[in-house]
Amino acid sequence: MSGIEILQIWIMAFLTLALFSFLYKDNAVYKLAEHIFAGLSAGYYVGLIWDTVIVQQLWEPLIAGKALLIVPGLMGLLMFGRFSQQYSWISRVSLAFVMGTTSGIFLVTQLHGLVLAQMRSTMRSMAGSDGITDLLLSLVIVVGVIATLIYFYFSKEHKGILGGTAKVGVWFIMISFGAHFGYTVMGRVSLLIGRVQFLIQDWIGSFGQII
């Protein structure tokens, strides 16, 4: 293991232990690591956007002759008008463009790509059932989707049939949230195992190289 590799491991180990120190209580070493993390993450996005958006999508095509790209470039710069009290309204034009285009994309993709597609899959699963297990599964899905939607329907008081179906919806939702919770816990525990493995194998393992 080279000196640089040992230094890298020790930096990673210091930052890992500094962040874990919060489990004991809030302290200066944790705050130091936390602020380094916040700064590096912000800097990471600056580098990413500069390269993938400003250089690759704006600057290089602009130089190649796509003069029309001056318009989004200017709209992007207008965003910074937000920092001026007098001219902050200018940034609304750029913001409106982002909101308008995003809404246009969303309106179609959400209805066509999600609502109709999910409803179609739900209904067709019943027709294409193969065997009793498959039919039962399709039935569970159809009842689950309808009951969940009714639980989230707040325009009418949940009483009578609506209330009963909403109650079934709660049971479905609780089981689903329980499954999600279980998966989330296992995901986080897996990350924890990764960090502990790093500390034991790499960091403590590097002690022998130093001594």
Partner: protein, 219 residues
């Protein structure tokens, strides 16, 4: 002027992208929609930069006025610049600049940012466990369902738990996979997706028609 122009811009941009759905990509409206998507990506990139500039301004003001915790805010500022500045410089000047393998940006991401990100998420394991201890009480049939499902799924996902479930009568792992994950869980996810998508679509329509204007702020 301050409100009308943005509403017209949002309307035209929104309508163009909705209309593009009904036309072929080779038509004028189809190619216009492709161009608008590129423009959105560019303006969206600037909005993210705006956020970073805003963080820098807020932290710089706190450091300048020596507010409480100013030293840590200085650390944030230094970290932003140490990460961002070498990435902004062209890689033709030095192999340390730019975003390629072996650059300062790459090194900081691999050996500082990524391990800290993993540690932050790993730390959440403790808080989730602590929250579960307080929240997971079988006080009602609904909370019991949540408790039992979460416990069984967690057991199922570790080798020892899987072995334990295999010892029980009936094919419990098959039942879990078929009816819980591919049945009940999928049904609820679909219900939530359909509900959220209908909400997003109606909000989009409100924005395009100029009914929803809160994104513009006051003034």
């Amino acid at each position: 002027m301050k409100t009308t122009v943005p509403i017209i811009v949002a309307f035209l941009a929104g309508v163009a992208l909705v209309l593009a759905f009904f036309f072929d990509q080779r038509t004028l409206i189809g190619s216009l929609s492709q161009e608008l998507r590129v423009w959105l990506s560019i303006v969206g990139g600037f909005t993210l930069l705006l956020g970073v500039v805003s963080i820098t301004r807020v932290n710089y003001a706190a450091v300048k006025q020596r507010k409480e915790g100013w030293f840590f805010k200085l650390i944030t500022l230094v970290s932003i610049f140490v990460m961002a500045v070498p990435a902004l410089l062209p890689s033709s000047w030095s192999s340390l600049f730019g975003r390629q393998e072996g650059s300062i940006y790459d090194w900081l991401f691999l050996y500082m940012d990524a391990p800290m990100m993993a540690t932050m998420f790993a730390t959440l394991a403790f808080y989730i466990a602590s929250a579960a201890y307080r929240a997971f009480r079988a006080r009602s049939p609904e909370s019991t369902l949540l408790l039992v499902t979460a416990t069984v799924i967690m057991l199922w996902r570790v080798p020892m738990g899987e072995w334990f479930l295999d010892q029980l009568p009936g094919d419990i792992p098959f039942f879990l996979n078929t009816y819980i994950m591919n049945g009940i869980n999928m049904a609820v996810q679909r219900g939530i997706i359909i509900g959220a998508a209908l909400g997003a679509a109606s909000m989009s329509l409100r924005i395009i028609l100029g009914i929803e204007r809160t994104y513009m702020g006051k003034g």
